[in-house]
Amino acid sequence: MKRLALFAVILAGVLFAATASEFPRLGDPDSAPSRHLSPAYIHGSKPQTATPNFVTAVLADYRGFDTMFETAVVFLAGMSCFFILRVLRRRGIAEVYYYRHRPTGVVLAMLTPRRISPRSSCFERIDADWTPQDMVVETMCLFMVPFIQVFALYVIAHGHYSPGGGFQGGVLLAASFILVGLSRDLRTVESLLTEKTAILAAAAGVCLYAGTGLLALFFGGNFLDYGAFGPFFGAAVPAARSMGILIVEIGVALTVMATLVTIYKLLSSRGTVEEGL
């Protein structure tokens, strides 16, 4: 089986390599892709959308419809993981929760109906595979979180002028939450961004994107034609497009952040969202 697969794959590779003979050489400025559409974007981006970063302009405006469905794919991935993994019904199985007495380090195991209030000052709930945590790691990770988040916001807002945008910023925001989850525990993340908030935020982000598109219909433009807002708000069309790009990037960032945190929570806890890594 493996020999056969190797043979087939090598054969396919040779066939593919044979088709490369007509391709332009790497970095050829006269190749068809360089001549046909890209000059239109490079010339048009600044005057038409007031966005110096061509990639952002093409991503969120010229081909904004792709990006809307791409955001929908992210949302869909979150919903799919929820649908596949999430354990909602306990089926009457009593689960063991572990509580650690802070001053003494004694651990109590309790069956589910009985539990200690999370607000209790001398008991904290711990994971089943809890090990004493390193204070240096935890403190440094929590210290990093605000800086990561500020950088993420910068990446979102500055996407017009520098590399970055909604996706990268959203992923960075999600990374800050995941860092909390890795250095502390999943319950801290859950208290910062509950599952309900996350799913609502994911839906709200795509809704912001698609809603901006739909709103353009009422201003007489086509779907996702942000330029249509311009005359109404007394702004020039390129400036309106630039604003539209910013709004949809915020929607993208919201969805990506919320969805990736949700997927991490589900995957790291086998769908229970109780005990993380």
Partner: protein
């Protein structure tokens, strides 16, 4: 001989991309471990993205962000933004697929106690 070398120097990267693609495809076909198949799928998709991004590269071109000192008179001064945009989309799609695949793998492990495909099938046949 010289022409052959020039041809190779111009096209070597395509051969490299196809080689990476085939590594991924091999993992998807021949590996029985489901997570290894996920990794193979990731490698396959990334190789296609590499192919696209290489289309957008231009010799001596800068990053596709307007440089006021250069202007847009000559499009050859900037890399082609279109393939980059397409691949941004493809990267996000690939992570979405990976997330769903990992969720399925976890559930399979919960139900069958293993993530080796042949062992799962053996277990199912045994019932």
């Amino acid at each position: 001989m010289h022409e052959l070398l020039t041809e190779f120097a111009n096209k070597f990267h395509y051969y490299g991309y196809f080689a990476i693609m085939m590594i991924g495809l091999y993992a998807m076909i021949a590996k029985t471990n489901l997570l290894k198949k996920c990794i193979g799928l990731g490698i396959f998709q990334t190789a296609i993205m590499l192919f696209y991004v290489s289309i957008g590269a231009k010799e001596g071109a800068g990053i596709p962000i307007l440089d006021p000192a250069v202007g847009t008179a000559d499009p050859a001064a900037y890399a082609n933004p279109l393939p980059q945009v397409l691949m941004l989309t493809a990267i996000v799609v690939s992570v979405a697929t990976l997330g769903v695949a990992l969720a399925l793998v976890q559930n399979i492990h919960r139900d069958h106690g293993t993530i080796e495909e042949d062992e799962i099938l053996k277990g199912l046949r045994g019932k």
